[in-house]
Amino acid sequence: MRELGGHRGRGLAKTIDWKLVIYYLLLILIGWANIYASVQSSEPSSIFDWGCRSGKQFVWIMTSFGLAGIILFVLSPRVYEGFSLPIYLFTLLLLVAVIFLGIEVKGSRSWFEFGPIRFQPAEISKISTSLMLATVMSQLGYRIGRMKDFILTALIILVPMGIIVMQSETGSALVYIGFIFMLYREGLSGWLIFMVGMAILLFILTLTASPFTAILVMAGVGSMCICLYSGRFKWWLLIGVPAIVLMAFVPSILGSLAGTPEEVVEGAVETVVENVSIFSKIKPLYILLAVLGCLLPVGAYRAFRQRNMFSQLALVAMVGGTLLVFSADFIFNNVLQDHQRKRIEVLLGMKEDPSGVGYNVNQSKIAIGSGGVFGKGYLNGTQTTYGFVPEQSTDFIFCTVGEEWGFVGCTAVILLYVLLIWRIVKNAERSREAFTRIYGYCVACCIFMHLFINIGMTIGLMPVIGIPLPLVSYGGSSLWAFTILIFIFIALDRNERKYF
């Protein structure tokens, strides 16, 4: 094999990260075996039979190996940096085109169809966005703290994400949130991740408990952060905690003051009746808002006097959080699509629906739960093979793992993913080139998001979001995408090992 400029580094066997390759191969084999397990009952045939999914997956696997070979041996690792912009733009074009030219699958227009082959541009987009991010962020002089750079980075992520949302593929779009971890590694303030987390928490609290609880929690966490930051943690313990606990009792105090109107005896003194009605009209939320409203100008004054940037931002964030709490119902009822709303309702336990929307999750939990410690043994699963579990070879492939291999098998698969991601992160950190490091983190983030959302969905931790389990789920499009994603990193990594 010839190398650029005639430099010959160390040989192939010594430069390729074999551990990564082995994790990759193991996951692909596990996936293939489980795809066979999930289809063989309805159609007993050889695992290589072209007519069933395991046979087709075999073809995808073989072609993936071909792609990996091309990436490792044919393409120079130098091309990615130079071509990332054209690739990125071309992918955006595909993403837009598929909305108009694609075929409709389960309500979303995100698939191109060429004869027997279907592919999803959103899968390629993960690769091109990762490359683009690596290219931009590895430029000399790039600083994520600088507003211009930050906005550019955000746009690179948000533009494809927005187009994918327009394809009604919200699930695939969610994966892009994972890039935030890469940004964090590259210097983005940790508070951003914290705020995103808080926003999700507030949203859920508003829907499941009440706006009162949500704002109270936000006030507690916010004040704690400010106090922690300015080194007044004791003050917070002394004043903040009692105040918040007191506020927490306001609803029950009000409730006992108001009494229940039915208890008032007919013809009782009118003033008493009036008293009762005043207390029952006061909502705890208003009291809380009034208290916060009084404290806010005081806090803002202090923050500006002390030129405490953190406190200022924290206060702004809290105002934003309050607005979010009040718009949560609106977002939930008007912005989200019907099926998404139902899935969230079921996930949060707001509605029990074992046969409707909750059916998938319920059946999937039954399948996984019935596996027990060691599982029922390969090809002996009963739940996954009768078609109780839908999409069992694609999005719900983890059910087959859970039922036939049990807790031990599930843990092993999860640990294998952790090893894979860990290894990628370690290699990325070891790298001397920012491009390789950033790209490596992107790959790790993508795999992690897919892993967590997919498995979380099958065991009821996440709403039902149809994204595949990387390398394991059936499907050529996804397998190819992750193969390319991982092997570009292996190639980049190898390029460095050659010389260092």
């Binding site: 009952s41 007993p44 964090y184 039954i366 399948a367 996984i368 019935s370 009963t382 993913y417 992160v425």
Partner: protein, 614 residues
Amino acid sequence: MKLNRENKLLIGLCTAAAILIVKLFNIQIVEDKYKLSAENNTMVYSTIYPTRGIILDRNGDIIVGNKVAYDLMVTPKEVTAFDTLALASVLDVDPDVIREKMKEYYNNRRRIGYQSVVMFKKIPQHTYMKFAEVAYKFPGFRGQPRSIREYPFNAGGNLLGYVSEVNAKYMEQHPGEYKAGDYAGMTGIEAAREKELRGEKGYNIWLRNSKNRIESRYNNGEDDKEAVPGDDIMTTIDAELQHYGQMLMNNKVGSLIAIEPSTGEILTMVSSPGIDVDMLADFGQHYNEILSNPYKPMFNRTVQAPYPPGSVFKLVNGLIGLQEGVFTPGTTYPCSMGYHFGKSKLGCHAHKSPVNFEESIMMSCNAYYCYVLRGILENPKYACIDDAMDTWREYVMSFGFGQKLGSDFPSELGGFIPDSKYYNRYYRKGGWKATTVISLSIGQGEIGCTPLHLANLCATIANRGHYYIPHIIKDSENVEIDPKYKEKHYTMVDTTHFPKVVGGMYRAVNSGFGSGGTASIAAVEGLDICGKTGTAQNPHGHDHSVFICFAPKDDPKIAVAAYVENGGFGNSYAAPIASLLTEMYLNGEIGEDRKGLEKRMLDANLMDRVKVKK
């Protein structure tokens, strides 16, 4: 280890993995509700269909029984290459049908998996026996026994009703009660007593393995549930009489109903042409044939056809007139070939004039009832004709007309009796008078009653003023009938007025030929039949022949109404048929002197006279 951002992220990764693993630990090891649910998922419930209750006649003879038929089940996965022609010839079907079905199973093989599907439904026993002999040549095929209906008597499809597989609409109407593949009674007695007849399904529980193959009984069958057979139903029908009535009405369009006046029990209920019981057993297969029959055999004329009653209705008008006091039984009215008013005339046939009340019934004088109805409607007691008309309607309705009688037989219709509002709408208020509606006097015009109404009228007169709601189910161990069927329903006419009507009806039958009695042909010696003919004018063709009668006069055992479409005069078909049925019921045979009449009635074919839409 430094707590740099790399390590923080790695800690985050491990935390996330830990969250997943803890949750997995929870659902896979800690909680067992998922394991129980999984067990339920692997249990297969195979339904045991109950045998349907038997339908008996009033004497305990079976009119609807059960026999075994077989559904040919096939498990496509187990089928090997087989001789299609041999199977087709054994089952007596077209080989192409088998080929097509096998192809369809192949196309749906994913969905079917290891399950069995029904290839042919309800194969009769003798065909199945032929198959059973060679079944070893056809692996994957087996028969599943299923009980289907058997009909020892030709008691008429409309009366008995048919049983068929429930469709989506039916399941929607009876939420939670039926599943696809269940059978239910759709019409007639089968529908009326579906609740008792259907019984309760049972099930066997089997366990299946991951190949979807049945492995063993669950818990040795201890949790299985036996099917509970449906309750037997005793009807008020007299099977022999029903069969005889069926023969009499053969090749005629119309209805024949017999009621036991002292109980309101329906003895016979024939709607002709009807559905042959042979077709009933396999209704689905004959469905299109039955639907396309121009004579509409599905249409149950006995309870659904609103006919003008014709002269039979004079009895009602007479009774109302007596009760209202507009005339007395002795009052005589003249008749000169009809009733003249203004320039118009309502014609009558040649008979002596004037006549009194009894004679008017005997000779069926039209003019007499024009006077009577005019008397009723122009009664000075009432401020205007509207009030008189509405009072008249109330009287008529008290006989059960113009409303559903409330029989337990399904799909009964109410017929129509007009009121003042109805005429006000057509002629505007004050724009009509007694002579406008004069045809009501002889049961013509804007009036519709079902043959069941007429039979009920006959039973009312036989009872001298009261009736029991006609019903078809008898009290038995299993089934208690609604107490309303044991209540007497009195009309608004005093019972003292009825004997005169009975007298007239007796004279109409028993005065001998040449006396002017309209129904002499119905006379049977020793039975004291009382009857009234009717000839309902039919602008579309031959008049309809109507006759009601009861016997014996002083201790009525049977009240009959016969309505023969396009039969001509009341005494040409309806009267002979009704009297033959009465004679058969009371004497058990037909007298020698009436054998000729019987033969003529059995052989008569009026189907050509009936105009049908082609």
